[in-house]
Amino acid sequence: MKISRLQKKMGDFFLNIDSMKLEPGKVHGLIGSNGCGKTTLSKLIMGILTPDSGEIDYEGLTPRDITMTSQKPYMLHDTVYQNLIYPLTVRGIRPDEKEAEQWLSRCGLLDKKNQYARSLSSGEQQKLSFIRAMIFHPKLIIVDETLSNLDPDSTELFEKLILEQQEQEPVTWIVISHQLVHIRKICDRVNFLEKGRLLAEGTPEEILMHPSHPSVREFLSKTEIFYQNDGDTQ
């Protein structure tokens, strides 16, 4: 997927991505400070927002191939199970109850199958929205901070789910997270956004371990521990 000269104004905020590429079947991390435009960019790709100008070349992907889990996931006024199978219902697919139950059981929600989804804790809602995004085998999955709110076990589980998926049947991912340890573990590529611009792109190693852009260094020095100061004296 290719993004070129994408522009979007949101109040005082201006998103301006000159060029960005997503490689099919790869996991892309999207990092940057609060308000740098990560969610806005995701919504543009998802088609929830329309760009002021510029182009997104989906290279054959249709809207039904793309999904996104939001920072505050929407839960239908219905049970956990009904929420999980909603994307299947939309596609006229008869849900396989056994398979659905396996998904639920993997993230510890099986005994809550018939509970009202809105009564789940926010972490549980995020887990549910995550497996709801995976269950119908989309080709591009955007995960907007779904993992930030999870306990260590669940975070690990989701790393595993993503990596498993990539082994079996690779799909394209955009993972937004402030947990850089996590980004480093699961991503093939990392994109760094600042004030609506894409400042750096590369492998996790390049971006997180040996950042060359001063803004990335600045960002990492404040947030994370593992960036190695390549000979800079302080």
Binding site: M46, G47, S70, Y74, V90
Partner: protein
């Protein structure tokens, strides 16, 4: 005992109590039904569509929500009377005419409520529908389903207005016994004749109906706010 029964049946037949209840129910059923269809459609459209003058339309809607029913009644009467632009319908002093006046009163109320709810809830529902790959039709159905408590509440509020309204119904319907006399206009008639107790009796029935409707509304209201996860 005999005497009591006599008094009671006199009261029922002279004012036409049974018919007034019937007329109230028929009128409020149709006016609520039509106003709900119009109000829900318009409320969603108002939230969805961008057009020049939208703010003015919203302000007009808010104004109409609080418009005195008797004024709407007068306007409807002028439209419907023999020499009026809609005189050929022959709806003056008929239930149809009363329904028309009430539709004009209630539609802005339902539309305004639906609009406010839609502004709060619809964008998130639409965005969610998109992430799930729902098409237009599925998205529309999802909106109705996800907002059904709010929609019920708006409809029930409209219904409550409808059964309790008196001014417009009086002007357009003419308070004709066994014909266009409603419970509310029957009460005014009883008051005019000095039959206060009978008026109160009818009033109690009306209040019970309003109470039932309000209970229903509160029920939906509670469900709507009871499930937020802050």
């Amino acid at each position: 005992m005999e005497g009591m029964q006599q008094i009671f049946s006199d009261f029922f037949s002279t004012v036409g109590v049974v018919d007034s209840i019937r007329v109230t129910l028929i009128m409020s059923f149709w006016s609520t039904l039509i106003a709900s269809l119009l109000g829900i459609t318009l409320g969603f459209a108002l939230e969805r569509k961008q057009f020049p003058g939208k703010r003015a339309v919203i302000r007009l809607n808010r104004t109409l929500m609080g418009a005195p029913p008797v004024v709407i009644g007068l306007l409807t009467y002028m439209l419907l009377r023999k020499k009026g632009p809609l005189g050929s319908l022959r709806w003056v002093f008929t239930i149809q005419g009363m329904v028309m006046a009430q539709v004009l009163i209630i539609t802005p109320i339902i539309c305004g409520m639906v609009y406010s709810y839609a502004v709060q809830k619809a964008p998130a529902i639409r965005a969610f529908a998109k992430t799930m790959g729902a098409d237009r039709k599925q998205t529309g159905r999802l909106l109705l389903r996800e907002m059904k408590n709010e929609l019920y509440f708006a409809v029930v509020s409209g219904y409550g207005r409808s059964i309790s309204e008196v001014g417009a119904v009086f002007l357009v319907g003419g308070n004709i016994k066994n014909n266009t006399r409603t419970m509310t206009t029957a009460i005014s008639t009883l008051k005019g004749a000095g039959d206060y107790y009978e008026g109160v009796f009818l009033g109690v029935i009306l209040m019970l109906m309003a109470f039932a409707v309000q209970t229903l509304a509160d029920h939906f209201r509670k469900e709507e706010t009871g499930d937020e996860n802050f």
